[in-house]
């Protein structure tokens, strides 16, 4: 019974059936992808039919390797496997192409003997890929935090503004980071980053990270830039007083232009909803930004006290907003960088699996094991060949 199951699970036909089933499943998933948001598609892709399919495919791969392992390893040996009895062609030495004659220096030539090892490596890498993805599934997590220019912070999992917890927390972050500098450039007037980098100091080591260039803290963890924003520097002065009662730099989600966030004043019951336009223009009563560059910055502020709307002001930096005995001013907009910390123990094993797989494919490129033997028959020098293409 077990032998029947083993034989069934280790057939090439089953592999083909499973691959073709995978094709159908993935086509359906792609169609969903055209109509549903990526998050929903991800949930569909993790449903049990898909999990069962991938499990069967990996099991089939494993049993296929197991069944054929001896044969594959045998094919890698230096001694003849097929010859002298199992040959494709027997020919007189003088009648074989001269180019081949010149290459025959010994009585036995075995070529491409690692072809079968390539098969083992390729299929083994598929199993490793599956295990790596499983590792990522259970242990991967990421956390986001925002730092303004010159801002420093000690990061632990409690510091994250957004945190995607894993099934099992294997390791927690603990490092100090300072955002030394932010370089941002846009293409013309478009919302198109042509350059966005952040120079950071992590535990004394200085490095530069970009959206597509993470800094690896270890084999399993990395930090990268994930978003850009502005922090508004504001002050609040109470009527009759000269010195600010309140001052701060607030990190807000006000980028891209038109995005709205709000500031809750600490000492007053007011809440200010702000939009920020780096290169302000007004057309037909609508506010917009001609470009992303800080050429004509304006803050559009809607002031509330509880649910009472106190009005809208469109102000330059330094221009006061006077409301109910207080004066609010926005002094500056400072770039902020959102960083994402990623912990993924599966990634490095995935890359290793890929390397093994590609090496296996390279080994298979030259073709199957070839054997050539020179023998003497009836006083004549003969050549017997297996898998050798004389054309």
């Amino acid at each position: 019974m077990l032998e029947k199951i083993f034989n069934f699970l280790s057939t090439l036909k089953l592999a083909i059936v499973l691959c073709v089933s995978g094709v159908v499943f993935e086509i359906l998933l792609s169609i969903w992808g055209a109509f549903a948001l990526p998050e929903k598609v991800a949930k569909i892709g993790k449903l049990s039919p898909f999990i069962i399919l991938w499990t069967c495919l990996l099991l089939n791969t494993f049993f296929c390797i197991l069944k054929r392992m001896n044969g594959y390893l045998n094919e890698a040996r230096k001694k003849p496997l097929f010859l002298p009895s199992n040959y494709d062609l027997k020919e007189e030495f003088e009648k074989i192409p001269i180019t081949l004659q010149k290459r025959i220096k010994k009585d036995l030539i075995v070529k491409n003997r690692f072809y079968s090892l390539g098969s083992i490596l390729v299929h083994f890498s598929l199993i490793l890929i599956g295990l790596s993805l499983l590792l990522s599934y259970f242990y991967r997590y990421e956390g986001k935090f925002t730092l303004g220019i010159k801002e420093e912070s000690s990061i632990t999992e409690r510091s994250f503004e957004k945190f995607s917890p894993p099934f099992m927390l294997l390791s927690t972050p603990s490092f100090n980071i300072r955002n030394e500098d932010v370089v941002v450039e846009f293409w013309g007037s478009e919302l198109l980053f042509t350059r966005y980098k952040s120079k950071v100091n992590i535990d004394g080591k200085v490095g530069t990270t970009a959206i597509n260039s993470p800094i690896f803290l270890s084999l399993f963890s990395a930090i990268r830039l994930s978003s850009f924003g502005y922090g508004l520097h504001y002050i609040v002065i109470e009527e009759g007083k000269n010195l600010p009662v309140e001052e701060g730099v607030v990190k807000l989600n006000i980028f891209p232009p038109g995005s709205e966030d709000n500031i809750r004043l600490e000492n007053f019951p007011h809440r200010i909803y702000v939009k920020f336009y780096p290169d302000f223009e007004q057309k037909d009563g609508r506010f917009s930004s001609k470009s992303m560059n800080l050429l004509n910055p304006r803050v559009v502020a809607d002031v509330y006290r509880g649910k009472v709307y106190l009005g809208r002001r469109v102000v330059k930096f330094g221009e006061p907003i006077k409301v109910e005995g207080i004066t609010l001013s926005f002094l500056n907009a400072l770039p902020t960088s959102e960083f994402t910390y990623v912990f993924d123990p599966g990634f490095i094993f995935l890359m290793l699996s890929f390397t093994i797989g590609i090496y296996g494919l390279f080994l298979k490129l030259k073709g199957k094991r070839k054997e050539l033997m020179v023998i003497e028959e009836n006083g004549k020098k003969m050549v017997i060949l297996k898998n050798w293409d004389l054309k």
């Binding site: 090439l12 036909k13 592999a15 083909i16 691959c19 073709v20 995978g22 094709v23 993935e26 086509i27 998933l29 792609s30 992808g33 055209a34 948001l37 990526p38 598609v41 991800a42 569909i44 892709g45 993805l133 990522s136 991967r140 990421e142 293409w187 478009e190 919302l191 198109l192 980053f193 042509t194 350059r195 966005y196 970009a210 959206i211 597509n212 260039s213 993470p214 990395a222 990268r224 994402t340 990623v342 993924d344 599966g346 990634f347 995935l350 890359m351 890929f354 797989g357 590609i358 494919l361 390279f362 298979k364 490129l365 073709g367």
Partner: protein, 262 residues
């Protein structure tokens, strides 16, 4: 007349000559003529068009529908050319029609020169695109040989082509996975582009195993190879009709150009 205008004219010229060479090959009805037309089209039109676009754009012309079509033809042409040095088949016979069809579709898209976004400025994404285009070239060779096998033409076979294609296609997936991790911190997602290419990967995996089981039955393998090739073309180009929110491969493009035909 600016260099950008000249580049676009040469692009159109490539399209027109793709159509002319296709019609001429069909009129003459000789494989050798179709083969020669393909080679001529590559070196007289596709290569200059690609180089001009490279100079005008200031970067490898591999992003967006307009540029990627040209690069697919460029890399495919070179793969076929290298293969023609080692193999005896007339492998360029479908190249003119491929040029015509790809460029008829792509010329409807925006041909403005745009700066590369940050995510497009990476060695890995370039290598990812190059390996994808090279894999496409091998796929065209597989398709050509498969059709000729079905028409019982002498001298055509799929030997080594499947392995070469699979190597470069696997490399494409691997580099894509690596770059996705660098960009998003995840090595895989359910992006329709990735899903469709996984679909093609599974299809070609099945083909490889099928070819192993059905040794000697070239006709069945050829039919399956043609189906897989068409699936791959869909994987590469169908994404252009997906909405921008569905795939990161499009979001970047939609940030800087309209992806719907004018």
């Amino acid at each position: 007349m600016t260099l950008e205008t000249i580049s676009h004219l040469v692009y159109k010229g490539t399209l027109v000559h793709g159509i002319i060479f296709t019609i001429y090959s069909l009129i003459r009805r000789k494989l050798s003529v179709a083969n020669k037309m393909g080679v001529l089209l590559l070196f007289l039109w596709v290569v200059p068009a690609w180089i001009l676009r490279l100079v005008v754009a200031g970067h490898f012309p591999i992003f967006g529908a307009y540029e990627s079509a040209l690069s697919i033809l460029f890399f495919t042409g070179f793969v076929l050319f290298i293969l023609s040095r080692f193999r005896k088949e007339k492998i360029f016979i479908f190249y003119p029609i491929l040029c015509a069809l790809m460029l008829i579709h792509a010329i409807r898209f925006d041909h403005s020169v745009w700066a590369l976004t940050i995510s497009e400025r990476s060695v890995f994404v370039h290598l990812h695109a190059f390996s994808a285009y090279i894999a496409f070239g091998f796929m065209v060779a597989i398709f050509t040989n498969s059709v000729m096998i079905l028409f019982k033409k002498e001298g055509y076979n799929l030997k080594n082509l499947l392995s070469l294609f699979f190597l470069f296609y696997s490399l494409t997936m691997i580099l894509g996975s690596l770059y996705r991790f660098l960009l998003f911190g995840k090595s895989w997602s359910f992006d329709p582009m990735e899903t469709m290419n996984l679909c093609s990967f599974l299809a070609f995996s099945a083909l490889l195993h099928f070819a192993e089981i059905r040794k000697g039955d070239e006709k069945s393998v050829a039919i399956y190879a043609i189906v897989c090739s068409l699936l791959l073309v869909l994987s590469y180009r169908l994404i252009l009709i997906f909405p921008p929110f569905s795939s990161y491969h499009i979001i970047d493009i939609s940030l800087r150009m309209h992806i719907l035909p004018k």
